[in-house]
Symmetry: C2
């Protein structure tokens, strides 16, 4: 049974941990930093989570569901172009709304996905293989321009996540302009032209 205080503190800790892990990576983050951001003492963090590792695990487990949802929603019965454009739009929204989650994921994969390889080789691969087959079918039926479905999916990941993961770089180059300003219109054009038979 979980108390009110437990819920509040667990949430505060995971939120602070997401802040720090996504900005510093797992090894770069320290419990002292997380404790400071959460406004709790270090031993108190360890009262709620057994270890730094456990904290990180909790974030990753939570992340994967959220991360897979947009692709999951791609409907084999829908209109091919509309479905893929919709997926791209949802992923772009995720970069806008959950940049920390995107960076947490990027940090992990960049370092060889040591804690995510099971999930990627399992659930994610199965989902991608499934949707890739759907897209391949659409192309074969002439409802979509012929296109490698894997590279299409990778390109959506690359383009949308780039705005969250490389935010620092984009800000430095664009100055005052909001990094995502014009991104949706650009990606709309890019994928419309690619997908129209």
């Amino acid at each position: 049974m979980t108390t009110r205080i437990q819920r509040r503190n667990r949430r505060k800790i995971l939120d602070a941990a997401l802040d720090v892990f996504s900005a510093q990576g797992f090894r770069g983050a320290t419990l002292d930093q997380i404790a400071a951001v959460a406004g709790l003492s270090k031993p108190n963090l360890l009262y709620y989570f057994d270890s730094k590792e456990t904290m990180h695990r909790a974030l990753l487990d939570n992340l994967l569901d959220v991360w897979l949802a947009p692709l999951h929603a791609l409907d084999p019965q829908g209109d091919p172009t509309a479905e893929i454009m919709g997926y791209m739009r949802r992923k772009l929204e995720m970069s806008r709304d959950y940049p920390r989650e995107s960076r947490l994921f990027a940090n992990e994969v960049l370092q060889g996905a040591p804690r995510l390889s099971d999930a990627i080789a399992g659930d994610l691969k199965a989902l991608v293989d499934d949707k890739a087959a759907v897209i391949r079918g659409w192309s074969a039926a002439g409802r979509l321009a012929p296109v490698d479905p894997y590279h299409l999916i990778f390109s959506i990941w690359a383009l949308t996540q780039h705005y969250a993961d490389f935010d620092a770089q984009i800000r430095l180059i664009r100055g005052e302009t909001d990094p995502l300003d014009g991104a949706d219109a650009f990606l709309e054009t890019l994928f419309t032209r690619l997908l129209t038979p």
Copy 2:
């Protein structure tokens, strides 16, 4: 004056440091790891480089020239589509040939570009602004489809670097297939369709 031994050991150290920094990030890397990969003792590393920081600096300074070169080569006098496609191809080759450098850069930017902000806001921004103006001119002259030049450049970065930075993820999903297999053909199609007026 630099001796033969100095040249050899400095190169061994920087190569080992690139291995470790690109795989673990700055804070995640340890001098012991770098020493082990280089086949030298830790105090010997510090005989050649004042500090861990200095080692990292040397890699970043070296990296930036290599990283800017492909964009620098984009010729305002050339054929618009061919120039942009050529840039994209060069960047993709860099992901194939220098994946460690790509990941070193990604790690740095992902963590807010603390050691690169000057270079990005300076040289890189100036170069991008310059080439963006060229591309805008091409579009205005009707020699290229109308396209936001900044997002075009960002999209080339995102798509090409993705294959180096997210290599672990792509491998887990594609299995035996070489991550870059088919990537060049896909990107060729994607950008041809986007750029043709």
